[in-house]
């Protein structure tokens, strides 16, 4: 997800292009439906990454993932309610048996769609198909500028295959974004990773702080970055923002999780997270579930979503995180609101 930011309001003499914010920053209360649906379409993955917040991996598909009829019913509801922007992630979304049919269902209805993938299935044919289906962008995770660090982070991963996938996307003319998750062993490559992203044709580069949750809890001793190291990491990124200005957007989210959550409590974003089994989360970094597409309509879920952000249990959890940042290890113990 991209970094938040706010631009100046338009001149008051115009008929009000109002305050401008990033997509996740668009506030939910006054809107008839979400503006952005981030859908983890399967928990199955070919890789077993050290830092995976979803605890995805080979054989890790949920036993109750939505069946094809349910999947297409959800898409049709989103489209009927004019949701303008979706992303498909996972797990590895390209492993979903209905992947291309789902993509087609979304893009043929006029919504914009981003695919978030590890890049291992980006063959020439698949890239040509993604181009034909007019996806908005494909975001590839590239956690390293060289094979050694990438392959260490992305267990079972193949740096060369991911890079070839990126080249195939570029050749097909599909817009490319790159995401980088920092760890102790790859953070010094951040400058080279930004350069590589540009060389591979990316128009956006995203990074931030790696979260202590999911697989990262077990691998934390390999991943943990100290505050002074993060300062150097973000300093390098600031230089890269300037270096690539006008050529590639370098986004980084410097704020810590607690700061982000406190902001969201006051300004819930018009964004829902859909899990592979149809449950809907308030936000990835909280354990709260506010809906179930197997039992509820989007309208019902959206009403509950807006109400749920004001539930005192949500604010209490954020307060508990302030006292014990390690509570993020419990994000997968869902709490139904």
């Amino acid at each position: 997800m991209s970094a938040a930011g706010t631009e100046a309001a338009a001149d008051a003499a115009t008929p009000a292009v109002g305050p401008v914010s990033s997509a996740p920053g668009a506030e939910a209360d006054d809107l008839a439906a979400p503006l952005y649906v981030a859908w983890q379409i399967t928990n199955e993955c070919n890789l077993a990454c050290l830092h995976c917040i979803e605890e995805s991996g080979p054989g890790k598909a949920f036993p109750d993932e939505l069946d094809p009829a349910q999947v297409f019913s959800v898409i049709d509801q989103l489209m009927d309610n004019d949701v303008p922007y979706l992303s498909f992630s996972g797990g590895e979304p390209m492993l979903h048996p209905q992947f291309f049919a789902m993509v087609e269902r979304v893009t043929s209805r006029g919504a914009e769609l981003k695919i978030e993938t590890n890049g291992h299935y980006l063959t020439r044919d698949n890239c040509a198909r993604l181009k034909e289906l007019e996806v908005k962008a494909v975001q590839v995770s590239l956690d390293g500028a060289v094979a050694a660090s990438f392959n260490r982070m992305r267990v079972r991963g193949d740096f060369d295959l991911a890079v070839q996938g990126l080249r195939n996307l570029r050749e097909a003319g599909v817009p490319v974004e790159i995401n980088f998750s920092p760890a102790k062993f790859n953070m010094n490559e951040i400058g080279a990773a930004v350069d590589l992203a540009y060389d591979l044709g990316a128009y956006s580069f995203y990074t931030g702080r790696t979260m202590y949750t999911g697989n990262a809890v077990k691998a934390w001793r390999h991943l943990q970055i100290e505050d002074d190291e993060y300062e150097r990491f973000f300093d390098t990124l600031r230089q890269k923002v300037d270096e690539y200005r006008g050529r590639m957007r370098v986004y980084f989210h410097e704020a810590g999780l607690l700061e982000e959550l406190r902001y969201r409590l006051k300004h819930p974003a018009a964004l829902i997270i859909v899990l592979p089994n149809g449950l809907v989360k308030l936000i990835n970094a909280l354990p709260f579930v506010c809906g179930d597409f197997r039992k509820q309509t989007l309208t019902e879920i959206w009403a509950n979503f807006r109400h749920a952000w004001r539930d005192p249990r949500v604010a209490a959890f954020v307060d508990e995180l302030a006292a014990d940042p390690g509570r993020t290890r419990t994000l997968h113990q869902w709490v139904h609101l």
Partner: protein, 85 residues
């Protein structure tokens, strides 16, 4: 004139939203701004054509006010890269 590629428009009770999905920025619109974007979205044409259609839809006592609003607003949309010809 039309909305730029990757820009989506949705009407809301308060007016509407424009979502520039490439940079993931959302612009909130007043009711009058939403009316202009609706015309761009469904009918296209230049500022004069949009003004003419809006003047016929609304009982505007001052047609020049609509024209001024359309010109200023479309200029703002162009400057932000939200429309293209």
């Amino acid at each position: 004139m039309r909305l730029a590629k990757f820009v989506k428009f949705r009407e809301e009770k308060f007016g509407g939203v424009l979502f520039e999905t490439k940079s993931e920025k959302v612009f909130t619109l007043s009711t009058s701004a939403a009316a202009i974007v609706r015309e761009i979205n469904v009918g296209g044409g230049d500022e004069a054509a949009i003004t003419s259609r809006l003047q016929s839809q609304f009982d505007a006592r001052d047609g020049q006010a609509i024209e001024r609003e359309v010109r200023a607003f479309v200029a703002d949309l162009r400057q932000r890269g939200l429309v293209e010809d």
